[in-house]
Symmetry: C2
Subunit: 421 residues, 2 copies
């Protein structure tokens, strides 16, 4: 009998029939004796509808005042879904009460549209739990010190759920979503891909940021910081499967290194499509050049992913980085017109058809030769490596996008990820 | 240069294009130097959509807990429209800020779905006005002492606007709506019906309760209690008509008797269709009988309108009342099975095809013969009067519904309402 936080995404809350199923699932947990706090997202499509209306009326240039109003508008999506879920639970015969962020309160800073949670008051929620109520709290939002409604940015409901679990020192935070866990890689590319029963929080961080998109990355950071046992599991199993089975399903994010001792060196293969590469050739090797190049790109609001600079020869070096393919033409133009001359560089070249493939595993820390095995595997398939970057638990390569599936499959096989750890 | 409250209904806020026009109208007032507080309704159809979703999920029997959730859900409609209007005003180049009821706060009791406003804090709003901002406040809602969201019931935005105007001691409260004022009667029945430039608050109360439906009756009570100069005017004039002209348009609700001195004895003809009449014949004339009959009807949640009991003959009298036609069969059945025997009455009869026509006018207080003129006019048209009730400023008759238009037209002509007062 524990204190459990459930989080349901917009798809799970997408219709009154689905909300009724969510209520039945929650009722199953409550009747088993658990104390429950639930954090639902807005019904799917609702946040987009609201922001679409707002966009039609907004001033041409966003200001703090206009972003405040965006949050005022967008926050209503979750306010509707908490109320509807409370009604559905009451119809199931449970006592239930819903709260918007400001009613808890969930306190945030004042960074409208991308606020960060500062604290969550647990007093009101605990009183309800003690009185036998299921408590439903809006995801995605909070209130700042001036009583303004704030939102946490897209996917913020994951973060809300983990933060609520941390504030209540919940026994587990269950993130119900439209996938049934974290996989060794995308099963659409490698049919043998295997669901991980556990994944370390650091691996999860790399998985999330590398495109596995199961959880919002800030929620993973939050789970790590407060060591909230967090489980990703499917909301599309029948609501009436045995609770024991449901409680063991999905993927649990862990924080204890030794839990991973017996596990594989590499846990998964992540990848990102739709990247583009830009290389500035013959850059003088002197302080300030990297900042000159990336400063110009950042000023144009273009996100940079991989950055590689190698040792120089004869006082000159090559400087490469990748951007989202949508930003390629703009970034290339920017470098040609604004940076090449200022940096006294020779020329700029680019390739809009590349991708990034990464092996991720906390075991890499203590195992040498993992990167070597990766490079050998790719070489055996005749895949040329264009760029390499590494971290303690990840090695990424940039390759021609036409080899992406081949590379992912070869690496998955080479590291024997289809075998249970 | 005054402090003005504007209220816009759901139709005026019905699309982004209409919201843009509302913003342009407000901007015109702001640029003329007025300080403005705006109370918009939810976009038309939105409250019904939200309550429809809620109805699908609600427990079969409403409880305080489920009604709390209904309010949590329904209140979001106005939260969206205040944010959208603030954005549209910012796009017009004005400074604007929106508040939900709890942010002002608008304090209410805890009667969910039909709460009453207790107080409105003017501090935050005044600070914004002093800083040159247009302040936009949600209609229809507030917050109770426990931090729960409450709503005021259908049409509550009118009441919100008048209450805000009272709290701020505004110079005028302008209710923009889809009619251009209060008329001597419905122009669809009497083409010569004339818009009243002013109407006393007591007449307005009778007009509203008698079916003229221009303003929610509680907002009129509020305007009377706090003597808020309130004007009903059209939101469908072009937004850029001269401000002077707009400020004099519509109908102003007044509170000073002497302002009406020169005016007509009768101000307007009101009527209600779809009523039904029930008469209990041969009721013993003893204490407790009226309560026995009406208690049973009230317990069945049936609203009673007109009640008439005349003097008795031989210890027995007839007792008549009217109900909405939808409740007729149920009320008749109730009387037959539950009341007739208990009351020791002879028989019950009814007529589901009647209507009520009323003449309303504060001048009737000091003019005799007004009712007599009404009865004579109806007699000249061969219309039989079935029931009569009177108050200080109103005389109502119940007649066969087929004569309704004829009666209204004849009375309008007899009291010369087509002539400017």
């Amino acid at each position: 009998m524990g204190l459990i936080v459930h989080k349901y995404g917009g798809t799970s809350m997408g219709s009154t029939e689905r909300i009724r199923n969510v209520a039945r699932r929650i009722a199953k947990w409550a009747r088993a004796g658990h104390r429950l706090v639930v954090v639902p997202s807005a019904m799917s499509g609702e946040t987009n509808r609201l922001l679409g209306l707002a966009k039609e009326l907004s001033p041409p240039k966003a200001t703090a005042a206009s972003m405040r109003e965006l949050d005022q508008i967008a926050a209503t999506g979750e306010q509707v879904s908490v109320g509807l879920l409370a009604l559905a639970l009451q119809a199931e015969g449970l006592e239930a009460v819903s709260y918007s962020g400001w009613q808890v309160p969930v306190r945030t800073d004042s960074a409208f549209t991308k606020a960060r949670i500062r604290s969550i008051d647990d007093q009101r929620v605990r009183a309800d739990l003690d009185a036998g109520r299921v408590v439903i709290i809006t995801g995605f939002q909070g209130v700042d010190d001036h009583g303004n409604v704030t939102t946490l940015g897209r996917g913020g409901s994951d973060t809300s759920a983990v933060a609520v679990a941390a504030a209540l020192r919940a026994d587990e935070c269950l993130i119900y979503t439209d996938v049934d866990g974290v996989y060794t890689t995308d099963p659409r590319i490698v049919p043998e891909a295997r669901r991980l029963h556990t994944v370390s929080f650091e691996e999860m961080l790399e998985m999330a940021s590398l495109g596995s998109k199961v959880l919002q990355i800030r929620s993973v950071e939050f789970a790590g910081k407060y060591r909230v046992p967090t489980r990703v599991l499917s909301s599309f199993t029948d609501w009436d499967i045995p609770l024991d089975e449901e409680a063991r399903s999905g993927t649990l994010i862990t924080f204890e290194e030794d839990e991973k001792m017996e596990q594989a060196v590499v846990s998964g293969i992540a990848f990102t499509r739709d990247e583009a590469k830009i290389t500035i050739v013959g850059v003088p090797d002197r302080p300030g050049i990297a900042s000159l190049i990336l400063g110009a790109v950042a000023d144009a609001n273009i996100d940079v992913d991989v950055i590689v600079q190698n040792v120089s020869h004869g006082g000159r070096t090559d400087f490469s980085f990748t951007v989202n393919r949508n930003d390629y033409a703009r970034a290339l133009d920017l470098i040609k017109t604004g940076v090449l001359g200022a940096a006294d560089a020779t020329e700029v070249s680019g390739d809009p058809k590349i991708c990034k493939v990464s092996i991720v595993g906390i075991g890499m820390r203590s195992h040498v030769g993992v990167a070597a095995k990766m490079f050998r595997t790719l070489a055996e398939e005749g895949i040329n490596i264009q760029m390499v970057t590494t971290s303690e638990i990840k090695t990424s390569v940039v390759i021609d996008e036409k080899y992406m599936e081949l590379a992912v499959r070869a690496l998955h096989r080479a590291f024997e990820l289809e075998q249970p750890a």
